[in-house]
Amino acid sequence: MAIAESNLITLTYIFLTAAVASYSLRLEGRVETLGRWATWIARVALAALTAALVIRGVEAGHVPFVGPYEFSLLFMWGILAVYLWMERGFGTQAAGLFILPIAFAIGTYAVAVIPDAAKTSQPLSPALQSPWLQIHVSASAVAYGAFAVAAGLGVMLLASEVLPGLAGRVPSSAQIDRFMWRAVALGFFLLSSVQLTGAIWAQYAWGSYWNWDPKEIWALLTWTLYLVYFHGRALRGWRGHRLAVLAIVGFGLVVFGFYGLGQLVRLVGLESMHVY
């Protein structure tokens, strides 16, 4: 791993930690302190992470998506990018404290849990050299980021209903519900694109666009859960905490598909030919 890249990852991690702290000061209303700079600190973290990914990508000659380390970095990037993008429309920085800790947890996993030996960049095997795959993985990082944002907003919505102390510091339930819908819509569109580009890649690589692979099935399951979200909202008038619970469960499925599905597959004795 290049020195510049690993330094940038360390920098990302430090700034992400500072961002979580400053967003919590911000929520307490202590804007005269670090809280004032919360958004800027998070932006620096995103910039450092972007630079690290670009260096890694240029060195390897492809979007860095091979193995859990690279994908965790992409996932973190997706959360930061979608959150910072959406924050401008929120009109509040309150949501940061509920969303950035998710990126922080994934960052901790990537930096501290994954052994160093598994962090080196691997050359792409011929089957993975496809532009479809690169679009597929890039879109999935942003989709998962959007679902993380939706889940964080869901936690904020539930918290604001049970903790009276938060009243006035976070937006109203109706507003959070709207933001959550936007995040879920973005994630859903991207997840649909992820499935399409994955299917096209599979067709060119294996001759079959749908293979009943556990990863594919899990993505379809996640996608179906978000369909329940949309239809419940548009047709049955669901709002507020019911949708918040769905957004949190949906993100739970996303994370499980990523970090837990392999275990299930081994336990049950299924086979997966998915690469990450």
């Binding site: 011929p126 399409l196 299917a199 001759g207 079959s208 099935i217 049950v268």
Partner: protein, 355 residues
């Protein structure tokens, strides 16, 4: 007449849509809990016996029951097929049901709205100032800048204005639902008419038939591989000639991700291995699946529909301009209502050009 109507109402009911989606998700999950038997194995009594013997080590006396219940092949069993087919029917019925109302909503241009509407509309705004003509001009310019279509009806006293945008985006919902139905139908049909030859062994220089009633033959001319400095493969390829009626008609380099396509058949390069009598042989797989193109087209339709539904809400704005130049604004949006409220607030330029 009565039974079909009841059936139709049930099929298009709102509750059923949510129930079917949940049932479909549960069926997907069920399939993940049991190992699945490949169709080739299921079709061959000996292989099936071996497979079940292995499964018996894990499931013991339950094995036969699980097999009979179709749980070793959930996605081809009634557990999955029944919710899937109902989902297709229900989605199709819902889309069909929405064609007329959607078309009506797109073409409806109701300029005049009763007074009471302006008191009760979901989003309202009141703007004061200027002459009637000024008020109309400023409002119209602001709406046109935001890409609204504006229709005005002037009465001696009152000016009525109607504006809307993205009305054709209402077709997005139809595109999504119709696209999903077409996609699933394409996949289901593809499943019955496609075929796949997993293991096509080509000895370099020797032509052989592809099978499955395909008229032409294929011949591998060789196999080459490049490696990364660490020894792992970087690229491999094989030149393949297609012979139709004994004559070579096409020669292509086949790589992973770059299959050879001829006569509706795709030939995929898998790897090379030592041959049984020295030398080497190249392993391909062959597949014929005409549903791929239609399935991709249907999926693109779904994506297009999603963009229209999510990002282009059909927004309608009505204004009543009173003799003293007071404007009463009201708005309706088929989605993203809060955004329309914001928009109404910002319609009038600030600083106020009239006052």
């Amino acid at each position: 007449m009565r039974i079909p109507t009841t059936l139709w109402n049930w099929l298009t009911s709102i509750r059923l849509a949510v129930i079917l989606l949940i049932a479909f998700g549960l069926a997907l999950f069920l399939g993940l809990l049991f190992p699945s038997m490949a169709p080739e194995v299921a079709a061959n009594a000996v292989e099936r016996g071996h497979w079940l013997a292995t499964a018996r080590a894990r499931y013991g006396p339950l094995t036969n029951a699980l097999f009979t219940l179709g749980l070793f092949d959930v996605y081809h069993s009634a557990w999955f097929r029944v919710p899937l087919v109902l989902l297709i029917l229900s989605t199709a019925a819902a889309a069909f049901n929405r064609v007329r109302p959607t078309w009506r909503a797109i073409n409806l241009t109701q300029v005049w709205m009763p007074d009471s509407f302006f008191d009760r509309a979901p989003d309202r705004e009141l703007i004061r100032g200027g002459s009637r003509a000024q008020a109309l001009n400023v409002l119209r310019a602001s709406l046109v800048r935001r890409r609204y279509r504006v229709v005005v009806e002037e009465e001696p006293e009152i000016i009525h204005l109607y504006a809307d945008r993205y009305r054709f985006a209402r077709l997005g919902s139809l595109a999504t639902h119709a696209g999903i139905v077409l996609l699933l139908v394409a996949v289901l049909i593809g499943g019955t008419i496609s075929w796949r030859e997993q293991h096509l062994v080509l000895v370099p220089g020797q032509a052989r038939a592809v099978g499955h009633g395909v008229s032409f033959q294929v011949r591998a001319e060789g196999f080459e591989m490049d490696r990364y400095p660490n020894g792992s493969p970087r690229d491999y390829r094989s030149d393949v000639t297609v012979l139709d009626g004994g004559q070579p008609v096409l020669r292509r380099t086949v790589r992973p991700n770059e299959p050879l396509q001829y006569g509706g058949v795709n030939l995929y390069l898998l790897h090379a291995e030592p041959g049984p009598r020295g030398g080497y042989q190249v392993i391909f797989s062959a597949a014929h699946d005409p549903s791929f193109g239609p399935a991709v087209a249907a999926a693109v339709l779904v994506l297009l529909g999603l963009v229209l539904s999510f990002y282009f809400p059909h927004q309608r704005v009505w204004a009543r301009i009173e003799p003293d130049g007071t404007i009463r604004l009201a708005g309706k949006s088929n989605r993203n209502r809060i955004d329309l409220g914001e928009e109404l607030k910002n319609l009038w330029p600030s600083p106020n050009p009239i006052l």
